[in-house]
Amino acid sequence: MTLVQLGLILLAQVSQVAGQVLLKQGMTRTAGRLSRVAAGTAMLAFWFLAWLKLLQGLDLSYLYPFEGLSLVLLVLASILFLGERLQGSTWMGLALIAAGMVLVGLT
């Protein structure tokens, strides 16, 4: 994996999570609904195109495990932006996912 590919993976997963948060907000609020849905859709479209680009250069069995990154980011976003507090088992899960991705990344 090159640095460019690593950056694209991070960017793609960040925009996937941000896109989902924006869509969620757009569907539940009345103010600024259209702009949030539009921005969320654009970010998900970028995620998908970046994913296709990554698939052109990386094994699927190597790339797919990094989908786990979106779970880590989603949990972090729920702490930062939604003020949620997490239980010990959630941290355990995140640690396992992170360790798994590092292990896959080294292969």
């Binding site: 990554l54 495990p65 779970l71 899960g93 292990l103 896959v104 990344g105």
Partner: protein, 132 residues
């Protein structure tokens, strides 16, 4: 309720659709790797959208999404979510069988860690503490 709407069938269908979708996308990405794209989009896989494999993959992805919405109505999330995450195992297995990808025990172990990790994120309500 007809058998075609049974929850276990649709749980399996979801894992299968997600897996098939990724395999098709990979197939299409490989087939279109050298295809020309506008310069400003060259960092994206936009050229792959012209591949029939990719379009079939998108169709399977959309079907898996509709199927997921149905599952969320029928099945508790603490069951549906871990089953769907079996795609983390099915996709590398599919890549091995259908795409000829080869990998060693380290990658398999990493994937296993990720799957177990996702199981920690969603658990049955009775084992959960105060609702958030």
């Amino acid at each position: 309720m007809p058998w075609s709407l049974s929850a276990p069938l649709h749980l399996g269908l979801n894992a299968a659709l997600v897996t098939i979708s990724e395999l098709l996308l990979k197939k299409g990405a490989l087939a279109s790797a050298g295809a020309p794209a506008p310069r400003w989009l060259s960092r994206t896989g936009v050229a792959a959208l012209g591949s029939g494999w990719v379009l079939a993959g998108i169709l399977c992805y959309l079907l898996s999404f509709v199927n997921w919405l149905y599952l969320l109505r029928r099945v508790p999330l603490h069951i549906a979510y871990p089953v769907t995450n079996l795609s983390h195992a099915l996709i590398p297995l599919g890549a091995w069988v259908f795409l000829g990808e080869r990998f060693g025990p380290a990658r398999a172990a990493g994937i296993a860690l990720i799957i177990v990790g996702t199981w920690f994120l969603v658990r049955p309500p009775d084992r959960q503490g105060a609702a958030p």
